[in-house]
């Protein structure tokens, strides 16, 4: 068996609510192979978003280990973690989180600017990516001039900007109607088929059908 691209080992996470520690994850372990399309499902408060955030390096576990491509994420400094996110992870959120003052193309360019990619390359790649997500004709539009589905496509294109091996998506179809949601999922599926590892969270069982593996969670544990 090949080495997993993501290895979560006995991860615990607790949040302080006032003076009381509320556990969100209780010893979660999971291995995700490169090229997998993993869906995390579960009721509210089951810990799926917490797990996703920890896998994405956005949050740190209270206890346990996490490696991404053999790199011990828990031991990384703040700056190295930022570098890891920049190079190895792409993020898509439910509410798109696009930069409001940036055009679609500039939004896609943003991660490349941070990675010091030269201007010409940035522009060519952002153009390619937007065309790939079907927004070749909307490159110079601002987020406020795009529909929800189009904004989510821009967010996906932005997540792909630095060609990361892993895409992390949290309820990416949650704010979209069914038809648009399915279109987005088909796009993500295509990315998976091209070799990208996808980890996403959803409430919608119809969307989970796109995944190659569905992980069910409840009360901070994997069932």
């Amino acid at each position: 068996m090949t080495k997993p691209i993501i290895h979560v080992d006995n991860v615990h996470k607790s949040y302080l609510m006032g003076k009381e520690a509320v556990p969100a994850l209780r010893g979660v372990s999971i291995e995700i192979q490169a090229g997998e399309f993993v869906c995390l499902m579960g009721p509210s408060g089951s810990g799926k978003t917490t797990l996703l955030n920890i896998i994405g390096g956005l949050d740190e576990p209270s206890r346990g280990h996490l490696t991404i491509e053999d790199e011990n994420v828990v031991a990384l400094s703040e700056n190295k973690l930022a570098r890891l996110r920049l190079e190895k992870l792409g993020f898509v959120f439910q509410n798109y989180n696009l930069l409001a003052n940036f055009t679609a193309q500039e939004n896609v360019e943003a991660p490349m600017v941070l990675r010091k990619t030269n201007r010409r390359e940035r522009q060519t790649r952002s153009q390619e990516l937007l065309e790939r997500v079907g927004l070749g004709d909307r490159m110079h539009h601002y987020p406020s001039e795009l529909s929800g589905g189009q904004q989510q496509r821009v967010a996906i294109a932005r997540a792909l900007a630095n060609d990361p091996p892993i895409l992390i998506a949290d309820e990416m179809t949650g704010d979209l109607d069914s038809e648009t949601g399915f279109a987005i999922m088909r796009l993500v599926k295509q990315l998976n088929e091209d070799g990208m590892t996808i980890v996403f969270v959803t409430h919608d069982p119809r969307m989970s059908e796109f995944a190659t593996r569905v992980v069910h969670m409840q009360d901070g544990r994997i069932l």
């Binding site: 955030n53 920049l86 959120f93 003052n101 991660p111 990675r115």
Partner: protein, 943 residues
């Protein structure tokens, strides 16, 4: 009072408001602290500024006293009185009895004497006083012990230094007794004066402050008893000085204070009669300073209002943000049954509490700033000027009240709109915020009701503003009310600053591009993000730009004005003086009825003065004879001042400043040989429509006396003659016309009486050139020594005037820097507050950037670059606006005054503004961003 008792006084609704407000404070600590701090600082600065004005106002008398002597009235016998000395006891009693306001009278001798010691000779001042009772002024002992009497004297430091004398040495003093002159006649020149010479021992070397005028640095102080014995003046003194009740000066209006003192002098005059001459120099200077004081007050008030305006914007922004964030809560309160008024009071109450604390702390801060910063600064500046300033920090109700009222008013108006916004919260904001701003059922009443449109009112007011200002200025001129004049002046100044600021607001956009272009070369990646946010976020940029721009206009304007003045000091001084040396008799500015007594005669001008070593050429100018001129048929007329010229002005005037429209500089010589030839100003030539060679009719002295004169020269500018210019209206109302002395005599003499004698005293001004190898200061000293005793005049040299003007500029610069710092301190708070709120509002964007892999320093850097771009561009716009206004005004002034102008750029205040703004942006942004940026991305996205 126990909390329970306090609660029982308030209704449950009010208690709920207070509880809600306190909870809000806890929730938004930073914002609340920011508002309080901004209010505290601005109120503190205004209190400090008002207190400065108050300190300066109250200490003005003190400073003047330091300059002219720390006494209020002085009485001397007139020169025509046969007994030049005053009997002390009885006269003092009469003075004390003449007015209750006279609190003390002291006898003195205060006159020039010849001093000889250690092989040196010079003139100096003899001050003889009764040390036991006369404690007017301060004595700083440099060496020895200040004891007078028994033929021991205190030597003033300057004489001790120049004569190289020490304590225990002896000094010879020669006193010339005054010679009474016959009324209407001058004392015969060269007549012998009785002299008394004696030798005294030096007991101490001292400096005086306010014992007599501050110009007295050399001479000696002697016991009055010793002087009386020495000069044989039993119970007699050369003068009496008097002190008045200090309460007379405690008027906000300097003019009224001066008039109070004059009333006392009049009362003394009624008692003593006409044989005395009365001097109230302190009151007179106070009277003259009233106008300058008015301008200072208006300037400081303008700074204060600008600062408060900035704080108003800040409070408005923060409170509005609070209201927006609380919309849902307020909507819930409305669902629960709250009236609109309740929500309104909720916001006003919150601001009220912030205001009470902020303004209260500000008052305390103002006192501290005044006491420990401003007063020591003024004292230091004045000390550098050689004035001994004994200022007392003055913070009283008068200085506190305007600040409290203005800050409260600004606070109220800043909170009004947010409070209205809160009161109009719809219940839909709680149910479905997305559609809440659409028209709801509760908006129907508003649709039915027609309300007055305030914009029309403001627009109308703006249209007639110029008319209102003109009326205001003329009303203030007519009624002479100081407060009203200050208000009109302040309003005009404010309008000008705001107007020019608004006009130049448009330049913030190109300046933003310029700053971003520069920043791109320094930090290209950070600027990539900043550029988009700066150029595409209008609302936020407008607010920050306004804050900074308005704060920058006034200091830049004043700095430009100062820089231009500085660059043109030499030109201005040379233009004003006209020649190397300018001698003016006191009669020029005194009572015209006695003017001819101290004027100079032809012999002095032509023989005595040129004999002074180092003087190259001397030109005497007669007094100004005011009369009428017309064209030859009397269709056009104007009033002029005729001045007779004793010699060629070409020999003494700074030739580079002479502009002759017609006739050339030769015409200045031509008038000397033709008594009917005149040189007139271009303004007069235009006004009368008289060409070169044309004739003018001038009304002379006596009935039906009209002289026909020929215009041989038309001047646009002559240095030393400020009334010669090209402006027609000025040309027709008092411009100078030059003529020969003989021609002057023709015009000014009644043909029925005949011409005045050859040695008539006609001259009250002399312009002279100094030989290239001569030292002007030595020449002045020689002139003073030789003629000072006989004539009443003073001499200015270009060098001395220049030095004086330059010292003034240094002071002005320091004042400007302090005011700039004050005005920008509040702007910095404004910038900080806006950035703080903005960063909070943009937290999702920041969270996303962080999730993408942006490092903390990169995020902070991006936000700092954004801030710098916004604030520096606005500061540059403000600088350009203020600078342009400064140039325009200076140019217009110089254009009408016919002064050549050298353009200059301020290199102190303007860079200071930019540095201050950059510094504020970096600190403000770093501090505001820190609390968000340091969090984890997921935490930020959850906020």
């Amino acid at each position: 009072m126990p909390l329970f008792a306090l609660y029982s006084l308030l209704s449950s609704k009010k208690i709920m408001i207070i509880k809600y407000i306190i909870k809000n404070f806890r929730r938004r600590k930073v914002r609340t602290i920011l508002m309080m701090l901004a209010l505290m600082i601005s109120t503190g600065l205004i209190v400090a500024m008002s207190a400065t004005v108050e300190s300066v106002r109250q200490s003005n008398v003190e400073l003047i006293a330091s300059g002219v002597g720390r006494y209020d009235l002085q009485f001397q016998k007139k020169e025509t009185d046969q007994e030049p000395f005053i009997e002390v006891s009885q006269t003092s009693e009469r003075i004390l009895g003449s007015s209750e306001s006279v609190t003390a009278v002291y006898p003195r001798i205060d006159t020039d004497v010849a001093l000889r010691g250690n092989g040196n000779e010079a003139t100096g001042r003899l001050i003889a006083l009764d040390q036991a009772i006369d404690t007017v002024g301060f004595i700083d002992v440099v060496e020895g012990e200040y004891t007078l009497g028994n033929r021991q004297v205190a030597l003033l430091e300057a004489t001790a230094t120049s004569f190289d004398l020490s304590v225990g040495d002896q000094i010879e003093v020669a006193y010339s007794f005054p010679q009474p002159r016959e009324e209407g006649k001058t004392s015969p020149a060269g007549s012998s004066q009785r002299q008394a010479v004696d030798i005294f021992t030096i007991s101490s070397i001292v400096r005086q402050d306010g014992v007599t005028d501050s110009g007295v640095r050399g001479g000696l102080i002697m016991s009055l008893d010793d002087a009386q014995v020495w000069l044989g003046l039993d119970n007699r003194a050369e003068r009496l000085i008097a002190l008045v009740d200090p309460a007379l000066y405690e008027e906000r209006n300097a003019e009224n204070a001066a008039l109070n003192v004059r009333n006392v002098a009049v009362a003394v005059q009624n008692e003593l009669g006409e044989q005395y001459q009365y001097s109230l120099t302190k009151a007179a200077i106070l009277d003259q300073s009233a106008q300058a004081f008015l301008i200072l007050q208006a300037l400081i008030n303008t700074y204060g209002i600008m600062s408060l305006g900035v704080v108003g914007l800040l409070v408005h922004t923060l409170v509005m943000t609070n209201v927006q964030e609380q919309k849902r809560e307020m909507a819930i309160l409305r669902i629960l049954g709250s009236e609109r008024g309740y929500l309104f009071r909720l916001v006003i109450g919150e601001v009220l509490i912030v205001g009470i604390i902020g303004i209260g702390l500000g008052v305390v801060l103002g006192q501290i700033i005044n006491q420990y910063l401003i007063v020591p600064f003024i004292v230091r500046t004045l000390t550098m000027e050689g004035l001994v300033a004994r200022l007392q920090p003055s913070v009283n109700l008068v200085s506190i009240l305007p600040a409290i009222i203005s800050a409260s008013a600004v606070l109220f108006f800043s909170a009004l709109r947010p409070a209205q916004e809160a009161s109009t919260t719809k219940v839909m904001h709680a149910i479905n915020p997305g559609v809440a701003d659409n028209i709801q059922i509760e908006d129907i009443t508003n649709l039915r009701e027609r309300r007055p449109n305030n914009r029309f009112l403001i627009f109308g007011f703006m249209l007639i503003l110029s008319v209102l200002m003109t009326i205001g200025l003329s009303v203030s001129d007519t009624f002479g009310n100081e407060v009203f004049s200050a208000t009109v002046f302040l309003a005009a100044f404010l309008m000008m600053v705001l107007g020019i600021g608004l006009i130049f607001f448009i330049t913030t956009v190109p300046f933003e591009k310029l700053v971003l272009f520069v920043l791109t070369s320094v930090a290209p990646r950070l600027t990539f993000f900043a550029r988009r946010n700066v150029s595409r976020n209008q609302a936020r940029n407008t607010l920050i730009s306004m804050l900074v721009l308005f704060s920058g206009v006034l200091p830049s304007f004043l700095a430009t004005d100062s820089a231009i003045s500085n660059a043109n000091i030499e030109t201005d001084v040379r233009l004003d003086s006209g020649a190397d040396l300018e001698l003016q008799t006191f009669s020029r500015f005194g009572d015209p009825a006695f003017a001819d007594l101290s004027r100079l005669d032809g012999q002095f001008i032509n023989d005595e003065l040129p004999a002074i070593d180092g003087l190259e050429h001397v030109v005497g100018l007669t007094y100004d004879y005011s009369t009428q001129v017309t064209d030859s048929v009397g269709m056009r007329q104007g009033s002029i001042n005729l001045v007779g010229v004793s010699d060629s002005l070409n020999n003494v005037l700074f030739s580079e400043f002479i502009i002759m429209t017609a006739g050339g500089t030769a015409s200045l010589d031509e008038i000397l040989v033709d008594d009917t030839a005149v040189v007139i100003s271009e303004g007069l030539a235009l006004g009368l429509a008289i060409p070169l060679g044309g004739k003018i009719q001038m009304t002379g002295e006596g009935l039906d006396h009209v002289e026909e004169l020929t215009v041989v020269g038309i001047a646009r500018r002559l240095p030393g003659f400020s009334n010669i210019g090209r402006v027609k209206s000025q040309g027709l109302s008092g411009s100078t016309v030059l003529i020969s002395v003989d021609g002057f005599k023709q015009v000014t003499s009644d043909p029925q009486v005949g011409l005045p004698p050859a040695n008539a005293r006609l001259f009250d001004r002399v312009l002279a050139s100094v030989a290239p190898d001569a030292d002007p200061n030595v020449v002045i000293e020689d002139m003073s020594r030789q003629f000072g005793g006989e004539y009443d005049f003073w001499i200015d040299s270009v060098d001395v005037s220049l030095e004086f003007a330059r010292t003034g500029r240094v002071q002005e610069q320091a004042f400007l820097l302090v005011m700039t710092l004050i005005s920008f301190t509040t702007a910095v708070f404004g910038v900080f507050a806006v950035i703080y709120v903005t960063i909070y509002a943009r937290r999702i964007e920041i969270g996303m950037m962080k999730a993408m892999g942006t490092r903390n320093w990169e995020l902070t850097g991006m936000l700092i670059v954004e801030s710098i771009a916004m604030t520096v561009s606005a500061a540059l716009a403000g600088i350009v606006a203020g600078g342009t206004m400064g140039y325009l005004i200076a140019y217009m002034e110089n254009l009408t005054a016919q002064r050549p102008m050298q353009f200059a750029i301020d290199t102190t205040v303007m860079p200071f503004i930019v540095i201050l703004v950059v510094f504020a942006s970096i600190l403000g942004t770093a501090f505001s961003a820190r609390r968000i940026v340091k969090r984890k991305a997921v935490e930020i996205l959850r906020m």
